[in-house]
């Protein structure tokens, strides 16, 4: 028996809609990686997956397991907190590496060093 059988219809529909919305935002984010033109534009796209995409997925998970267990379950919030705290680190490393390389190559598309760094 799958979990879905144990869920009342209203909960099953809510969870399904939330999961689909989450997947949609994650998908648009990935599509952005493909469609946008340069590196600095592309790094913007995956943030859709880490913000609203994650939000809807977590909301779906919280609804599903709270209904199944008959009590509020919200340890998923921790996933959201840790994602928000850790994504900036990776993104900043990537962007700064790209900026450093572009500056070294003397690219005209990036701002030059203003002061001594």
């Amino acid at each position: 028996m799958s979990h879905l059988d144990a869920l009342p219809p209203w909960a099953a529909i809510t969870v399904a809609v939330l999961v689909l919305l989450g997947a949609l935002f994650a998908f648009i984010g990935s599509l952005g990686l493909l469609r946008l033109k340069n590196f600095y534009q592309r790094v913007h796209a995956p943030t859709l997956g880490t913000t609203l995409g994650t939000f809807f997925m977590l909301a779906a998970s919280i609804t599903c397991f709270s209904v199944l267990h008959g009590r509020p379950i919200f340890n998923e919030i921790l996933i959201g907190v840790f994602l928000t705290l850790t994504t900036p680190i990776t993104l900043m490393l990537l962007v700064r590496a790209a900026l450093y390389r572009d500056r070294e190559e003397g690219s005209q598309d990036v701002p030059q060093v203003t002061t001594s760094e």
Partner: protein, 162 residues
């Protein structure tokens, strides 16, 4: 005495909450273990000799949180629109923002805000000139972005951390 055992009371309390959430339990055993972990890990954290954060006006953090949630939601939709429409004439670029904020904790929160909001990314922070460089996906009005970041995010952070 209290200072010695609880050098970072907020951190210890947060660790306890995380422990209880992970265990999905408020049984006495879980609370006891969580408290011990909170105290022990906070003492380990103290060994790193972090600069102490002074948080004033904590209610402003709640306001800022609500504001950031709203902005994240709106810019998700904006970026999704850009991706789906394949906008050709879109101009994206770098914006240099002179900051008044110098507190490390405030800057860390600002980094989380700017990076978590789709459409803006924290690129570089120059601590000598105190200038922040961000990249904006859909850049129309450069001065508008500077004003937005300074008014909407930097001002409350200044009041809380500095």
């Amino acid at each position: 005495m209290i200072r010695r055992w609880l050098p970072y009371p907020i951190l210890s309390a947060l660790l306890l909450v995380i422990w209880l959430l992970l265990n999905q339990s408020v049984a006495p055993a879980a609370i006891l273990l969580g408290t011990l972990l909170g105290i022990a890990l906070a003492k380990v954290f103290g060994r790193l000799r972090p600069p102490k954060a002074r948080v004033r006006n904590p209610h402003l953090l709640g306001l800022l949180f609500a504001r950031v949630m709203l902005d994240i939601f709106r810019s998700n939709l904006a970026v999704a629109r850009i991706v789906l429409r394949r906008e050709r004439g879109m101009h994206s670029g770098f914006v240099a923002i002179p900051l008044a904020l110098t507190d490390r904790h405030g800057l860390a929160v600002l980094a989380c805000i700017i990076t978590s909001t789709p459409g803006t990314i924290w690129v570089n922070y120059d601590s000598t000139a105190n200038v922040l460089l961000i990249h904006v996906l859909d850049l129309v009005d450069e001065q508008g972005w500077i004003d937005t970041i300074k008014q909407r995010y930097e001002r409350p952070l200044l009041e809380v951390f500095q």
